[in-house]
Structure formats: C-alpha cells, structure tokens
C-alpha cells in the first residue's frame, strides 16, 4: 500500500528507514522484483512501467542484464493487522538493485555499504548458483541481515521446497523462513515489503554529529556534471552546505541534494540513514571518488568512514580504431567512459599491424565487451580489439623483471621465470557432472582445493586455475559440458610460475603483433594450428596468395595458405543494373573500411576478435 504523504527527505526519522539491496546470481530476477516494488509502493505507475525499469542504459536493455546498481527511495505503509506482524505505520524504503554478473561484483560490494539488509534472491527453478554464494558472502562480510527469497515460483519447473531447504541450509535459517514470490506476477511481493520493514534494522547514526556520508557511486551526466550517490551515516547534508571530500580535503559548492524516486527529486537536505545524491558542479568523477567520505567544510568530521577496495583490471586487450584518423576520438571516448567507470584502465600503445590505439584493462570479458560496444555505439567508432590476455611477470636471467600486459612486449632473450595470475574458482553444479568438471579443470591446469555437497545432488567445487584460462574458453566449455547447469564464480588470489611461451602469427612472412599470444608450452602447438586454420577461414581471399604461419620464436609450428582470388566481377551490367552496381560498389567500399590493412593484406575485424574465440565471446557468460 503506498502512502499519500510520504515523509520528506531530511525530515525522516531513521527509525522508519529501511535500507536494503537485492542480490542474486545473474538473471534470477532482481530487476523484475524491483519493478514490482516500484509499482506496489506507487513510485512508478502502471502507465510508466516497463520491464526492468531500473535498467536504464541502452546496453542494459538490449542485453537484458543489469550493469549499474540503482538506488530508489520508496514510501511504504504497513497496514494494521498485517500477516507478517510488522509494526503498522509509514516507512521509507531505500532499495538498491544490483547486477548479478561476476564482472560487476564491485558494484554489488559498494551497494552493500549503503544497506542494513540484503534480499538474497534465488530462482526457484535453478537453485543456488555460484554468484548466489559469492554475493551472500559479500553481504555477510558487510554485516548485513539476509532475507532469503525464492523467485519465479510461477514456473512449472520451480522446486520451491527443495531450494528453500538448500537456501536455509546455507544461511542457517528455517526453510519456512524463506519467502516465496513470483516477481513476474507480483505474488508474495507485498509480503516481502512487510518482511523488509520487520526484519531490516533501522539505520543508526548520530544526527547531531558532524556530517559523514559514504560515496557509493559517482556518475558523470552530460547535463548535470558529476552526480554523487551517498549514504548519510551521521549528521545531515544540506543544499546550502559547502562540502569537503575527506581523502583529498577538496571543498565543493553544493548545487543540489536529492533522492531518486525513481527519477531525481530535489530535497533541501538528507539526514541520518538516508540514501541520496549530491551535485557539486564537479566535472570529473575522480574528484568525487567512490569510497570517499563527504563531510561539511565547517565543523566537519575528523574520522572518515571505511572505504572500499578499488577494483583492479584483470583482463587486458588492445583497442584500435579501424580508421587511424579516429584515434583522437577514441581517446576522448575512453576519457568520457572512464568518468563513469573507475574500473576501466587504459594507456596508449602502438601496434605494427594496427597502428595507434590503447591497451585497456577490464574487470572481465563482459566488461570488455560492453565497453567496446559502448565506444562503438555512443561514439560512432569502428574498433578492433585484440585477444584478451592477463598480466605476466617475466623475470630474466639477469634478474630484471618485466610486467607484460601485451603479448607483443614479451621480452626476447633468456627468461628465468614467468609468473601468471591464478584465480580461486567456485563451481556449483549438479553432482552428475563432477567427473566432467574435474576433467576440464585438469586440462586447464587446475588444482582441486575442495568439494562440498550443498544438498544431496549438488556440489560446490573449489579450484585454483590460471586466470588466462578463465579469460579464454573456460566458462563456455564449463557450460557446454554441463548442459548449462554449472555456474562459476572466481576471484584472483595470487600468481604461480608456469611454462609459458609466446606464439606469433606471420602473414606473408611478417609477424602480426596483434595476433601474438602467450600460452602454455604444452598447448602451443594445438593453439598455433587452431589459430592459423581459423585465420585462413576468416581472412578473405586476396589478389595474391597469403601464407599464414604460427611460430614460437624462429620455429614454425603451423602453416596454412589462403589461395589468391581469381574472380571478382559481376557478369552482367546492363541498363537496369547500373544503379544497383554503383550502390554495390559503395557497400563494398564501406566493407573495406572495416578491414585493416596488414602489410598488403586486408584483414577483417572479425579475424582479430574471433582469432582467439575458442576464446569466449564474452556475452556468453549470461545464465
């Protein structure tokens, strides 16, 4: 039931505030549950409603996944005599919808800091999956109260009893305490809202102390400059304040304070326990850093709040404009994207084959693909990305150490040791697939760390694996070998020495640096054969023969030949064909623009991407 006279920001008793987030494995229905809550609380009416309302970016809507967390303030009135036994009255709920994909875990972890409780949502047809656990542990680490909810109970394949037991087993509650909803139909959602009121601790803070607010998100908006999202812990922030960033001491004029409900609503101030936004006229998100504490300029706090660990890029790839003239556009575009994406790292690099571009660091493959997509779409760029790789530490016999983020910079000469990053991977799967998974992990040089049964027929397996394999095709193979049933979560835990070599690809005898890759010695031969074969299929026939070779140093390990094209002419060109023929020529010219000249060879963009796409197309990790 929605409230007519919602308590205004800045004048809301913390006792009636409830701050919670929704966390889950990807696709278990967080955004859909958020939709129902937006409707039930009346902040979005039927007319304005659309599915996954909070997935606002084009790319989120197209892919049907959440990338950015979204916080929304919603009024909620608990009725007298409700079944849940919640205290009747008016409340204010702050909900944060979070992403489920492992690449965006850092989005989840910062959202947690703004909340006292987390709804742990589990698809009643799928059960607990790897990111369910990963996010649960994050929430427990942030000291949040967990409210377990099974979703999609409308599905014929739902097994609510089985998975309620599984969920209860993991959280340590009674299966009867697991709520059951259908976010799709709305069944049970009102009950969840009352349970949130009942179970979530009200925020505690000192209203009279100097203001302290934690920045949990910071977003660049073309019209409004940087919008900073905060959770107020102590005191209050008013639009008349001058505020100070505690890490740098920088002072900013406050232009606007408000809450999101679900569009921005200006407010005079926000107080203890409230979640809202600030606009200061700052143009660079780096001046309003996530994890920093905001206080008042005068009489400000002395001690900052605990911040966040800044996420480090894990996966690197070169991004190059197909048209060299677009290099400045690409640089500006990366600058702009970085404003909203602190996890994106980049620095200029030059490739013999591809010209000027950037070596970019990403949190994972999906992050990489989404960034590339956005660059192409929002900035009208045509880009080539090289195969993703991880960072290697190469120690030479003379003791010098090189950090290699780009395979083409792999040092020549006598190498003493190469170290590669390793991840701790958690795989959840029906127990039928234990053998298959072990086989796969062994082939990928994995080491079993442990195995537990979650229930009779589901296991959790923990492996240490080279990060490079996760970046390549591990996830795809895991999915295909377990018919899609296994899920994967991982975190980088360290590094290990490994017997690695650089495999080069030569076109017409010239090394194409963009195709170089660092692989395990045992896999080098099959890798070379695979890649040469793939390039043969991907590079169109040219007017001359093009030999393709794969080599380790001077040793050729594989060889293919693209035969010369012999016919490229339309047989007929009469009166009615001329216009069409001219348009075809224009189209062919467009197509040629998407080719990169490597020496005399025209190489299509797909060759660079697909070259290693045994390596994942990163969009796969959905589901």
């Amino acid at each position: 039931m929605s409230s007519k006279s919602a308590p205004p920001p800045g004048h809301t008793d913390p006792a009636i505030l409830r701050n919670f987030c929704i966390i889950a494995h990807i696709d278990h229905g967080k955004s859909t549950l958020a939709d129902r809550m937006l409707q039930l609380t009346g902040v979005v009416d039927e007319r304005a409603a659309r599915a996954q309302y909070l997935d606002r970016m084009d790319i989120e809507r197209e892919r049907g996944i959440t990338i950015k967390s979204q916080a929304v303030r919603m009024p909620w009135t608990v009725a007298e005599g409700n079944d849940e036994g919640a205290e009747p009255g008016d409340y204010v709920l702050n909900m944060i919808d979070t992403p489920g994909h492992v690449d965006f875990t850092y989005e989840v972890s910062r959202s947690l800091e703004a909340c006292e409780a987390a709804i742990l949502l589990v698809d009643a047809a799928q059960g607990i999956e790897a990111q369910t656990l990963a996010n649960l542990y994050l929430a427990l680490g942030a000291d949040l109260h967990i409210i377990p909810v099974l979703n999609k109970i409308d599905l014929p394949s739902a097994q609510p009893e089985k998975y309620a037991a599984e969920l209860a087993g993991i959280i340590g509650c009674d299966p009867d305490d697991v709520l059951q909803v259908s976010a799709k139909t709305g069944l049970g959602v009102e009950k969840v809202l009352n349970e949130i009121v009942k179970q979530t601790p009200a925020p505690v803070g000192d209203a009279d102390a100097p203001a302290r607010a934690l920045i949990f998100d910071s977003v660049y908006d073309t019209y409004r400059g940087v919008v900073t999202y905060v959770r107020v812990v102590d005191g209050k922030l008013s639009h008349r304040d001058r505020i100070k960033m505690m890490s740098t001491g920088a002072v900013h004029e406050m232009l606007e304070v408000g809450v999101i409900s679900p569009e921005p609503v200006k407010a005079g101030e926000i107080g203890v326990g409230e979640v809202g936004y600030l606009i200061t006229g700052v143009k660079d998100v780096r001046q309003s850093r996530v994890g920093d504490t905001v206080t008042s300029q005068h009489g400000g706090a002395a001690e900052p709040l605990g911040g966040y660990k800044h996420p480090n890029p894990m996966v690197f790839a070169g991004l190059y404009p197909i048209d060299g003239d677009d290099y400045p556009t690409l640089r500006d575009a990366l600058d702009k994207l970085q404003l909203n994406d602190a996890a994106l790292a980049y620095e200029p690099e030059t490739s013999g084959a591809l010209g000027f571009g950037f070596r970019c660091g990403f949190l994972g493959l999906l992050h990489m693909e989404i960034t590339r997509d956005r660059l192409e779409r929002e900035f009208d760029l045509d880009l080539i990305s090289t195969a993703p790789n991880v960072v290697y530490q190469v120690t030479m016999e003379d003791g010098s150490v090189h950090e290699v983020t780009n395979p083409s910079e792999y040092p020549e000469g006598k190498i003493a040791e190469v170290r590669e990053p390793v991840v701790k991977a958690t795989i959840l799967s029906p127990s039928d697939y234990i053998g298959t998974i072990m086989e796969l992990c062994q082939a990928k040089r994995g080491q079993l760390g442990g195995m537990d049964y979650l229930s009779e027929d589901r296991v959790e397996m923990r492996y240490t694996l080279p990060m490079a394999d996760i970046v390549f095709d591990f996830f795809d193979q895991l999915k295909s070998r377990t018919k899609g049933y296994a899920s994967l979560d991982y975190e980088v835990t360290g590094e290990q020495a490994a017997d690695l070599v650089k495999v080069d690809i030569l076109l017409q005898g010239e090394t194409v640096d963009a195709f170089s890759a660092i692989v395990h010695r045992d896999a080098a031969y099959s890798y070379g054969v695979m890649l040469a074969g793939k390039l043969k299929d991907l590079i169109p026939r040219q007017q001359f023969e093009v030999p393709i070779q794969a080599a380790i140093g001077a040793r050729i390990i594989a060889r293919e030949t693209i035969r010369a094209i012999r016919k490229d002419v339309l047989a007929k060109c009469y009166g009615g064909d001329i216009t069409r023929k001219r348009k075809l020529l224009e189209k062919q010219k467009e197509g040629k623009k998407r080719m990169k000249m490597v020496g005399r060879v025209e190489v299509p963009q797909e060759a660079f991407i697909a070259a290693l796409s045994n390596a994942p197309s990163a969009e796969k990790p959905k589901k």
Binding site: Q543, F544, R563, I565, R566, K567, D568, V569, L570, A571, K572, C573, Y574, G575, G576, I578, T579, R580, K581, R582, K583, L585, Q588, K589, K592
Partner: protein, 403 residues
C-alpha cells in the same frame, strides 16, 4: 521472384524531366529498350521482372501489352519534346519477347518509328527463346524491321539445361539460327550461361563448341549468379545443389575466352564477344557509354542526360498508369558530376576500348602503376584496358580506381 527496384527520389506523375536532362539531347546516341515481362514458366535461377500467366493476375495481359507499350512510346515523345531524336537502336528483351505474336513487336517498333523516326543504320534486336520461336515468326519479325536476334541458348548439355529449368531441346538452337539466317537477319547472337551447379568444365566446352558450330556473329557468356529469392537460391540453401565456385567460374571464363577468340570472336566487354566491331551490340554499348535510352515496360530503366528513372514493377500497375495518361516512372535519380564520373569508371573499364585516364581523379591515377604491375590492366595510349586476369577481377580494379 523478381528482384527489387532500387530506392530513388519520387518521379513526377506526368513524367517531366528536370531541365538539365534535355541539354544535349539528340547529340548523344538514343535508343529504346522494350521490356516484355512474360515467360511461359519461371526458370529457377531467374530474378528478372517477368511473369508467367499465373503470376500475372488481373489488370494486365499479354494481349493488351502491345497497346500499353505503344502508349509509353507516345508518352516518351511528349516527355522528351519535339527534338530531332532519330532512334539508333531498339532492343526487345525480357522475359520472353517471342511469347508475344511477332506482329506485336513490329507494331511497337512501328510506333517508335512513327514518333521518333529510325536512323538509317538502326539496329533492332530481339531476344528469342529457341523454344517459342519459329521460322515464320522470324520472317515476320525481319519483315517488320528487326535485324538482329539473340537466342537464349544457355547450354548445349541436357542436364545443365534441366538444372536451369530451360525446356528447349539443344538441337533446336542451330535450327533457330538457320531460320534466322534464312529470314535475313544481319546479326545472330547466342547467350550462354556457365557455372551452373553440376556443370563440368567439359560440359562447358561442349556448349562453347556447340555455339561456335552455328557460327554466331556475337556471343554473350554470363557466369551464373545465384540470386536471392530464386528457387535456385533455396536449393543451394537446403544443400540440394552446390553453390557456384569462383575458381570454377574463373576457369570457365578463361576457357570461353580461349574458345571464342580461337574462333575469331574478340571480347569487347567483360561478358561479350563479337566477330568484328560491326557485330558488337550497339544497343548495349549505349548503356556502357553513357548515352540516352528510354526503357519501355514494367520495371524498365531509362537514362536521359544524367537522370536515371525506372518504371513501376508490376505489369498491372504499369498498364494502369499509362491508361490514366500518367507516367509509369516510379522513381528517379539525378546523377551529380561525381556520380557520373564513378559510373563512367565502373562501366567503361569493362570495355575493350578501355577507360580514358582523364576520367580518374588523383587517387585513382595513383593506383594505376600498382594495377599495371599486378598484371590487371595495360596502358594503351591514354586508356586503361583490362588484361584477361583484370577482366576476372574487374570489380577489384574498379575499387582501386575509385578509392
């Protein structure tokens, strides 16, 4: 399924052309193309704008077509104005022109002659299906003023003809050629197709030899194109027949050029060979040399002084417009200087006469030494002429010349 027309600007209902189009009208050669959009059955590979009796539906018929075509000839006269515009070439194509009674074709020719007058050396061609043409038909056509005939022979090999859905008996082609000669046709041409799925190089040589045995004045040889939307394309997609193979097409082109040249037919356009310059199809040269022509009939394209326009596609819509006294033009395209230059490059480079260097811009000229070095073109005076290898890669040459 007939292929779609290009997109263009709207064309005015009365057919009026922009003033720029009439500049120099009469100075350039002028011809008529008359499209006959009927076929007895549709061949599996064909995406031409043609209709079987069943496909035609109401609103148009073979019987009334002559009337519609004549109406369009009269409209052409109104649109072009009373300039002295003797017609140098007329070409009846299709579809299957010989599905119409021969008197219908000669009636359209008579209307053209009435309205515009024919040049003394006018070339009047009809395409003819060996299946649907007889000796008496050819006599009527010749008597009515036609002097060139082009037979759709395609192949001399029964299994190839079958794959192409062509129903004629290969033996009918030499017979038809003899009838045409007897009727007094000056020029006889044969159309061939190579690269049909299942056709071997030996099959193709048989067809070439068979064609040459009739001693034609002219041969057109086309690589089969699997056009989207055709029955053949569906068969390929379903894996029932193999897709054409570019290497195979290249071998067959080389074989054709060898056989034809050996028999004294020289190439003058990528897909066309003639006994001597006089035997070249002057009508087609009109297209390739940027001259003016009016295309009569559904879906027919015209070009007048830098304006390209094309008619509505369906015979019924075409007939309806003309019956209302309106122009059947559906859309048009005004070519600017640069577009005309681009067209010159892509058309003239295909001719043995070659492309004048002066047509190229700086970037295009810069590509010439590379093309010469790669053996794709030779320089003949101030002209660029494709080599044999260059003819096979003509589109790539065009892309280099128009970077």
């Amino acid at each position: 399924m007939p292929s779609a027309l290009p997109a263009g600007d709207p064309a005015p209902t009365d057919g009026t052309l922009p003033e720029s189009a009439s500049a120099g009208l009469g100075d350039r050669p002028f011809g008529f193309y008359v499209h006959v959009p009927f076929c007895a059955t549709r061949c599996g590979y064909c995406d031409f704008n043609t209709y079987t009796a069943e496909e035609l539906g109401g609103g148009a018929s073979r019987a009334s077509y002559v009337e519609t075509a004549v109406a369009e000839v009269r409209l052409a006269r109104r649109v072009l104005g009373e300039v002295d515009l003797p017609v140098r070439t007329v070409f009846f194509g299709g579809g299957t022109p010989t599905l119409l009674p021969p008197g219908d074709l000669t009636a359209v020719l008579a209307a053209i002659s009435d309205e515009f007058g024919l040049a003394d050396d006018v070339e009047v061609t009809t395409e003819a299906n060996p299946d649907s043409v007889s000796a008496p038909d050819l006599e009527v056509l010749r008597a009515g003023g036609l002097n060139r005939v082009s037979f759709g022979m395609q192949s001399a090999v029964p299994h190839v003809l079958r794959t192409l859905d062509r129903t004629h008996d290969p033996a009918r082609v030499p017979a038809a050629v003899d009838w045409a000669r007897a009727a007094g046709f000056d020029q006889v041409s044969l159309d061939l197709i190579y690269g049909t799925p299942g056709e071997s190089l030996a099959d193709w040589r048989i067809s070439l030899d068979a064609a040459l045995a009739s001693d034609p004045d002219h041969v057109s040889a086309y690589a089969l194109i699997v056009e989207e939307g055709t029955a053949l394309a569906r068969q390929v997609r379903r894996g029932e027949v193999p897709m054409t193979d570019d290497d195979d097409l290249a071998d067959k082109y080389v074989a054709a050029d060898e056989a034809l040249a050996g028999a004294g037919l020289g190439w003058y356009e990528v897909s066309n060979w003639a006994r001597d310059p006089a035997a070249r199809c002057r009508h087609n040269l009109l297209y390739w040399q940027g001259a003016d022509w009016w295309g009569v009939g559904p879906g027919a394209h015209s070009h007048v002084g830098g304006v390209r326009f094309w008619n509505v596609k369906h015979p019924a819509a075409h007939a309806r417009r003309l019956a209302r006294g309106e122009s059947p033009a559906q859309a048009r395209e005004l070519l600017d200087e640069e577009t005309r230059r681009v067209e010159r490059v892509l058309l003239e480079i295909r001719l043995s006469a070659g492309l004048e260097r002066a047509v190229l811009d700086d970037a295009g000229r810069a590509a010439v030494p590379g093309l010469v070095a790669d053996g794709l073109v030779t320089e003949v005076g101030d002209r660029l002429v494709l080599t044999l290898r260059g003819r096979l890669l003509a589109d790539a040459v065009v892309r280099s010349l128009l970077p």
